[in-house]
């Protein structure tokens, strides 16, 4: 065991059992999986993806590039970093050989999202972030502070309790301040436009199987901030050398964090290889904890303070040296040293832990995503934010700014981080017009950074590599098994851009997205090309900063509430009466109402449709047409407006009358059709097709507001205001007469294409004599609160006549028998009214209307455009496929075959005594009577071309 008897921010009173790679272990609350494994002496946790090399734990946070695991319990989750999994009772995990495994069963977890608004968002609750948040909170601002750890403190958590009392007091003050939201276990993973930051909160993962069922496991916080302060710290970066991937090779700060935060001494004989002063504190603390420590530092001008400290605790220091390689298999057993810069191997030092520090990379991901500019700092060997992004300003939204403070801005000392956090908050508040004073920094000791660090990407190589050496073990990207040689191969191949090198080598594309490898790859590339890394730059910092599960992003928009189910007022009746439904856009519409058959089964669709159509053609039937879009149009210019919209004239329509109308787009193609009812001189009600309701209203509003603002016309959606019930069939008059005794339903008094007001069961109804079936029909419109009552009344009144409810399929058959097109089925956005044979609906008198000019284009004038025609299979028992292609010839031996068009609608018809179809066919109206062939899935069906109207061509039935 490597757990020390005391120390750390873990709860030693509670023991958590967990399983890793099939073996049982124990840890404590406060542990990560990584710290618990190290406490149990487990260093090797994974296997590299391509080369099968043992891999261990190299970090203590999200920058981990090596220790990838698969969670198995309580629920499988692929590819997580062991350093970011909080330990819980019953955790089962295994090390990954590069690829994760998805569960084969549904995820029982809940996920949700929450919007939050604030004046100041602080990302990162380290010293800079705490100071920024406190400064903003004391100024009375609305503050959100997010941090990915379960407790605040950031880098302080890896120290021997530095400022821990202060951190606790700041947290206490923040959480007790109104208008301050502190979110722990929350990673801000993306900056989007205008102060919009997305953050993922892991809310119950640390509870394991004990997580409450009703709690969202993870939550996406959608944070809209006026000012964003990024106090995201920095990631230590390694130095690349041979066999730098062995378990037991770790970042220096990670070694210190495991010691101080988790009470784990990760090795007993430790080599600390550093190019800068920051790792010395780790060396000293580890030595004081009982380890035998050797420091290897390529610099020769060592800081006197640290030299003295090392001497004090018995650390051997090897200045002017560096690590060029390691030994060991499952765990590092020793390091090779060489003199620097002269080269030449000098010694091998035995060890069981190698800590490495090559300097620090400020965490600039969010800043870069916000559009912030980065500049290379040669002294730090890192890209730093040039300045904040103040005042990008959304109109009317207040000032929006993005600032960076603390180590993310390149601050090195704790004192600078603290002061910087407060200063950035003051500046941010000032941009918001809030005068604030920085809160006072807590007292800290003098930071012991005395000597400039050495920027070193990779240890020089002992042997010359020609760039194709597959035995190279100097890993730049551990997860991708990509080495220095790979980078050199890329530059040798002619590549000059870091983006190309990234793609050639795959460096930076793995789970860690190159947090520790990206800059090093740039550095090695720059050196190889002999250019300045400042000019070469880095690859892009794409969101998300850390990986986010698909389910978290989907949130609650899943299953039953994935997308709205729109229903009509009469919907409960349809359910009660066994309707089968069809999705039409977001609506559920009854497709048909199957009945029980004598044998106890359900009628199949052809049987239902035969029964329903027969009722409509010979008796009476009714359907729920409420999904039709309805638009109330009012204003003295309403008629003029509609004249411009529709292809036919509307203004001549008289109150009390109804007209069928077609509208086109500017391109002259049919957009929609429906009826126009004139309610009064200055008031109309239009209907649209179900699927186009929103589109048509938007289109009319666009024209009314932007093209013709001079017209006095107002549009209001009344789609849900009215329940619409067509009552169809030769006996429909009797039914209407029964429910509306005061209404004269005679053809003379209530003619075709007129409408009347009448009371039905006491409810004011608008009844239109319109027909989409060719039969005598009435369309009953009532306020939708009374939809079911009136439907029921009609149903009851129709019982003596065998009234039959019908669905969309029967509706389609009835209209197709009459050659009435369905927009979107018989048209596809390339069809004009003339193509449908509906020139009669296109006004010749009107000077202009939407789409008119397009009719005279060359293409519209072609005689061989496709026309809507009817098709009768020669064998009337054969049902054409909707979508069958129409051919002039049945010889299809030579591909490609010229196609004349396609079957748009096809049904079995009781009324027609067989099957029939509608089709769009090139020069179709000139081919009436011809024999053509429908080709469907290899079958050739001979058909005869007819006009589109196949039933009651003389229109004798509409008046009953």
């Amino acid at each position: 065991m490597t757990r020390l008897p005391t120390g750390g921010l873990i709860d030693r009173t509670t023991v958590l059992s967990f399983t890793f790679d099939g073996r049982p272990y124990a840890g404590h609350p406060g542990d990560t999986l990584a710290s618990a494994l190290l406490a149990n002496g487990v260093h090797r946790v994974a296997t590299s993806v391509n080369r099968g090399r043992p891999r261990g734990i190299m970090a203590a946070g999200v920058e981990e590039a090596s220790a990838l695991v698969q969670l198995e319990a309580p629920f499988p989750e692929p590819m997580l970093s062991a350093t970011t999994i909080e330990l819980y009772e019953g955790l089962v995990a295994r090390g990954l050989p590069g690829r994760g495994t998805l569960a084969d069963r549904p995820d029982p977890g809940r996920y949700d999202a929450m919007h939050v608004h604030c004046d100041v968002l602080v990302v990162g609750a380290g010293p800079a972030g705490l100071m920024a948040a406190l400064t903003a909170a004391r100024a009375g601002s609305r503050v959100a502070l997010v941090d990915d750890q379960p407790m605040v403190g950031g880098s302080l958590l890896g120290t021997r309790g530095e400022l821990s009392d202060w951190s606790a007091s700041v947290l206490a003050e923040l959480t007790s301040t109104p208008e301050v939201l502190v979110l722990s276990r929350t990673t801000a993973f993306g900056y989007y436009d205008d102060g919009f930051v997305l953050a993922l909160q892991k809310r119950t993962d640390h509870l394991g199987a004990a997580a409450p069922d009703n709690a969202a496991r993870q939550r996406i916080w959608r944070i809209r901030a006026k000012q964003v302060i990024l106090a995201t710290g920095a990631h230590e970066r390694p130095v690349v050398f041979a066999d730098n991937d062995r378990p037991g090779v770790m970042l220096a700060q990670a070694g210190r964090t495991y010691l101080n935060r988790y009470g784990v001494l990760a090795g007993n004989r430790i080599v600390v290889f550093t190019t800068n002063d920051s790792a010395y504190v780790a060396a000293v603390e580890l030595a004081e904890a009982g380890a035998e420590v050797t420091v290897v530092d390529p610099r020769t001008d060592l800081a006197p303070f640290w030299a003295a400290e090392c001497a004090r605790v018995g650390i051997a220091v090897r200045p002017g040296h560096l690590v060029t390689g390691t030994t060991g298999e499952e765990r590092v057993t020793g390091v090779h040293l060489a003199a620097y810069p002269s080269g030449g191997a000098s010694a091998t030092v035995h060890c069981d832990l190698l800590l490495v520090s090559g300097g620090w990379n400020p965490t600039v991901h969010l800043f870069s995503q916000a559009g912030g500019k980065l500049e290379y700092d040669a002294e730090l060997g890192a890209f730093l934010p040039v300045a904040g992004l103040p005042g990008a300003g959304v109109l009317g939204a207040g000032v929006l700014g993005v600032r960076v403070s603390g180590a993310a801005a390149g601050a090195v000392s704790l004192a600078d981080c603290l002061a910087g956090g407060a200063a950035e908050a003051v500046a941010a508040l000032s941009d918001l017009g809030v005068a604030a004073r920085p809160v006072a920094s807590p007292p800290v000791g003098t930071d012991r950074v005395e000597t400039a660090g050495l920027v070193l990407w990779a240890a020089p190589v002992e042997i010359s590599l020609d760039g194709s050496d597959l035995s190279d073990t100097r890993f730049v990207d551990l997860q991708r098994d990509a080495t220095v040689s790979d980078v050199l191969r890329a530059t040798g191949a002619g590549l000059r851009s870091v983006e190309h090198v990234k793609r050639y080598t795959t460096i930076g594309t793995a789970h860690d997205q190159g947090k520790t490898s990206g800059l090093i790859a740039s550095g090695i590339t720059a050196d190889a090309l002999g250019v300045d890394i400042a000019d070469l730059g880095t690859t892009t910092f794409r969101p998300p900063y850390t990986s986010v599960s698909f389910a978290a992003l989907a949130g609650r928009d899943r299953g039953a509430i994935f997308d709205p189910v729109r229903v009509t007022a009469i919907h409960p009746w349809h359910i009660e009466h066994g309707a089968q439904f069809e999705d039409v856009g977001q609506w559920k519409r009854p497709l048909c109402y199957p009945r029980r058959t004598a044998s106890g089964g359900l009628e199949d669709l052809p049987a239902v449709v035969a029964r329903e159509t027969r009722a409509a053609r010979t008796g009476v039937a009714m359907m729920d047409g409420s999904t039709l879009g309805k638009i109330n149009v009012q204003g003295v210019d309403a008629g003029e407006f509609l004249d411009r919209i529709y292809t036919n004239i509307i203004s001549t329509l008289k109150p009390g009358f109804v007209r069928y109308a077609v509208m086109c787009g500017m391109d002259g193609m049919i957009l929609d059709d429906g009826t126009v009812m004139r309610v009064a001189d200055t008031e109309f009600v239009l209907t649209t097709t179900t699927g186009n309701a929103a589109k048509v209203l938007d289109w009319l509003e666009e024209l009314a507001q932007t093209e013709w603002p001079d017209l006095r016309v107002h549009l209001t959606s009344v789609t849900e205001q009215w329940a619409t019930i067509p009552v169809v069939g030769p006996l429909s008059r009797q039914v209407i007469a029964a429910v509306a005794p005061a209404l004269d339903v005679s053809n003379e008094a209530f003619g075709f294409m007129t409408w009347r007001s009448a009371k039905i069961v006491g409810i004011e109804a608008r009844i239109c004599r319109i027909s989409f079936s060719g039969e005598l029909a009435y369309e009953v419109n009532v306020p939708s609160w009374y939809g079911i009552a009136v439907w029921q009344a009609l149903f009851d009144a129709g019982q003596p006549y065998g009234i039959t409810p019908y669905g969309t399929e029967t509706m389609h058959v009835l209209r197709a028998e009459k050659g009435y097109p369905i927009i979107g089925q018989d048209t596809d956005g390339t069809v004009t009214p003339q193509d449908l044979g509906m020139s009669w609906v296109v006004s010749k008198k009107k000077l202009d209307f939407v789409g008119k000019r397009s009719f005279s284009r060359t293409e519209n004038q072609r005689p061989d455009r496709k026309h809507l025609v009817g098709l009768l299979p020669v064998d009337r028992s054969v049902l054409l496929d909707e979508g069958a292609q129409v051919l002039a010839d049945d010889d299809v031996s030579q591909l490609p075959v010229a196609m004349l068009g396609h079957v748009t609608s096809s049904y079995r018809s009781v009324a027609l005594g067989g099957t029939f179809g509608l089709a769009l066919v090139r020069s179709g109206r000139d081919r009436i009577g011809e024999r053509l062939f429908a080709w469907q899935d290899g079958e050739v069906v001979p058909v005869t071309v007819t006009g589109p109207v196949l039933y009651d061509q003389e229109g004798a039935r509409r008046d009953g």
Partner: protein, 97 residues
């Protein structure tokens, strides 16, 4: 997600709006007199600059009003919003990067 300022309702999330393309493309007078080419240009040809672009939006989920905006298509930053009928404001800005 962008914030777009409706001239009436103020800043709202982009999801509340529908995009309407280039602004100030008037329906031509006397369309019957237009050549096919001129009509095609009205129908299908729109500016597509990188940089400031006067365009139309409608606050579809809000007040349903159409309005105009000048937005930098390179940075997505909205430089001005103005109501239908108001002239396009002069902007001293240069095109984006």
């Amino acid at each position: 997600m962008q914030l777009i300022s409706c001239p009436w309702c103020g800043p709202r999330e982009e999801a509340e709006y529908h995009y309407g393309g280039q602004a100030h493309v008037a329906y031509p007078h006397e369309v019957g007199a237009l050549s096919d080419a001129d009509w095609a240009h009205y129908l299908f040809f729109r500016d597509n600059p990188r940089g400031p672009f006067a365009e139309r939006w409608v606050h579809a989920a809000g007040c349903r009003r159409w309005f105009n905006a000048v937005r930098d298509t390179g940075t997505h930053e909205i430089l001005a919003v103005y109501r239908i009928g108001e002239p396009q404001p002069e902007l001293g800005r240069q095109a984006s990067r």
